[in-house]
Amino acid sequence: MSEPIHHFFQDGPVAVAPYSHAVEVDGWLFVTGQMPILPDGTVPEGIEAQTRTVFDNLRSVMARCGFENAHIVQARVFLTRFEAHYERMNAVYAKLFPPESLPARTCVGVTGLARGCDIEIDLIVKKS
């Protein structure tokens, strides 16, 4: 195994806790769970816009790490209001990937997320 590379970007998505934006090992990228925080520090209203914002942040981390065209192998989705948001999140999520290459996924309801957000998603990515 090569030495892990810890990616952190001062101008990347707002870091709300002590972590690297992503850690790279042997062509794999483990992306820290992203929140729906916009560049101006606010959170858009509604789970649809929040889901899109989370993916914008994830994609920006992937790009900065040189993984923009890499394959998203797995996604983990965390929701604070599972009953209310599960279907609505799925409707947006489904449009983010070609239907034939959806990542493996785990989605769980949780009691709370940082910054009072309603959604967080992390990724495991592999360079082809």
Binding site: T42, G46, E48, R88, C117
Partner: protein, 465 residues
């Protein structure tokens, strides 16, 4: 309202009332306001919510079950079975109606008891009972119910904005509000808040144009009120005239006006009802309109409209609490008035004329029902279409040396007077005629007070001051 000013640091002397205005706020069966609201068709669900299973639903304090039977008919019935009271949310959908899971009684959508299977052959028990049920109607992706006396069922009112302009596309939505219905509905008769809540105090939530303080006026219309806010946007004047339709309907223009381009839209971007779930919960339920007249630049976002969502900031609690504290929206302002806003603790001021007028109109309607009369229903014309007056008007009326407040007031009055006066005209043609009349006034400089003959002013009697 408090009558005596208390000393500074005198919270001790300011006990707050806990008595709400029950005549207007309580909506359960047999309450004055509940009886009044039951005289009108009310939207109670999105059509898309009604799937293969019965839905337990509470409306106007009544526990009900909404379902679609196998023949495609909608049913809205009292939740608890007339036999032994279990919930029909566990009922089995039948070809016609719903069958209670407990002992198999079968109810049709009108409440008729079709079968009582455990009774001996020849039993006439079912003929002696009719389960509570209500009429329903599907329109524009919404399920409406009429919960008043069946013999008084009014025609379903189709507001002109719901069928015009040609090609108008309606997208239904429904939002939960954990508070009394009235404080949410009153927001429509409180146009000054659009400057403060949506801009001046909290930062720009819609567009910077909302930060300009409007001149506000309220005109009585055959439907209720027209709540008018007129603002200056450089050389243009912008009217945001919102229908407040009795008892609990309102229409609005868009949230994305920048005021830079002339616009004449005698139609709406939102038509919404505030339907009480019970005394301390309600829905904002209605439709967003998509068409080239109200939204020529296609700024609406259809994908953000539906169950629990709308393409306008601040209408839900779906932002973190800290963000909502920094820039609270309508949801926060209205819900934070409390489960039921206490009118005795308010101090209404000069910008609250619309609130006072709306409460008066509601009391009149409630009084009419209480005295045994049928309250006024939206009037129907030949085509069955109800004319409304909502308009979003932006015209070039540059600032002059004249008092600009007077210019704004005069402009708002004249344009809205044309909108109200034109109501007998057919839908569509009406917009053309009103625009023509307003353009003629614009061309002759009639929007400046010195040019206007007082006799041509909108009838003063209709202006509530």
């Amino acid at each position: 309202m408090a009558t005596k000013k208390r000393p500074p640091f005198g919270g001790f002397y300011n006990p707050l009332s806990r008595e709400d205005d029950t005549e207007l706020t309580r909506v359960g069966p047999g309450t004055p306001c509940g009886d009044y609201l039951r005289r009108y068709w009310q939207p109670i669900a999105l059509v898309s919510e009604v799937k293969e299973m019965p839905i337990p639903i509470r409306v106007l304090g009544e526990d009900l079950v909404l379902f679609r039977d196998k023949s495609g008919d909608l049913g809205l019935v009292h939740r608890h079975c007339s036999h032994r009271g279990t919930s029909l949310e566990y009922g089995i959908i039948a070809e016609h109606g719903i069958r209670c899971a407990y002992h198999g009684w079968l109810y049709n959508v009108d409440g008729t008891v079709e079968e009582t299977p455990s009774e001996p052959p020849g039993s006439r028990l079912k003929e002696s009972i009719c389960h509570g049920a209500y009429r329903t109607h599907e329109f524009a992706g919404l399920v409406f119910a009429y919960m008043g006396p069946p013999e008084e069922t009014p025609d379903f009112p189709v507001y002109d904005t719901l069928v015009w302009p040609d090609g108008n596309h309606l997208v239904p939505y429904k939002l939960d509000m954990p508070c009394n219905w009235l404080q949410v509905h009153e927001n429509a008769a409180d146009p000054i808040h659009t400057a403060y809540l949506h801009s001046i105090v909290t930062g720009v939530q819609f567009t910077p144009a909302f930060a300009e303080l409007p001149v506000i006026e309220f005109f009585e219309t055959p439907l209720g009120l027209l709540s008018v806010a007129t603002r200056r946007c450089a050389d243009n004047l912008w009217i945001r005239a919102s229908d407040v339709i009795l008892p609990n309907v309102a229409q609005f223009g868009t949230g994305f006006v920048d005021g830079s381009k002339e616009k004449f839209a005698l139609c709406a971007a939102f038509t919404r009802w505030i339907v009480p779930v019970d005394d301390t919960n309600c829905w904002v339920i209605g439709v967003r309109h998509f068409n080239d007249v109200i939204d020529p630049r296609r700024e609406g976002r259809e994908e953000d409209i539906g169950l629990g969502k709308i393409d306008l900031m601040g209408q839900t609690d779906e932002r973190p609490y800290i963000d909502r504290q920094k820039s609270p929206g309508d949801w926060d302002a209205m819900v934070a008035q409390g489960p039921i806003a206490i009118h005795r603790n308010e101090h209404l001021c000069s910008t609250d004329k619309g609130i006072a007028q709306l409460r008066r109109q509601l009391r009149n309607g409630i009084g009419a029902v209480r005295s045994g009369a049928v309250p006024a229903q939206p009037r129907l014309y030949g085509t069955g279409i109800v004319p409304t007056y909502n308009n979003e008007t932006i015209l070039n009326v540059p600032r002059t040396t004249a008092d600009d407040t007077t210019v704004l007031r005069d402009f708002g009055r004249k344009v809205c007077a044309e909108a109200i006066r034109s109501e007998p005209l057919p839908v569509g043609e009406r917009q053309e005629q009103v625009e023509k009349a307003v353009r003629a006034l614009q061309a002759e400089g009639a929007f400046y007070p010195q040019a206007a003959a007082p006799a041509q002013n909108f009838a003063e009697g209709a202006v509530n001051v």
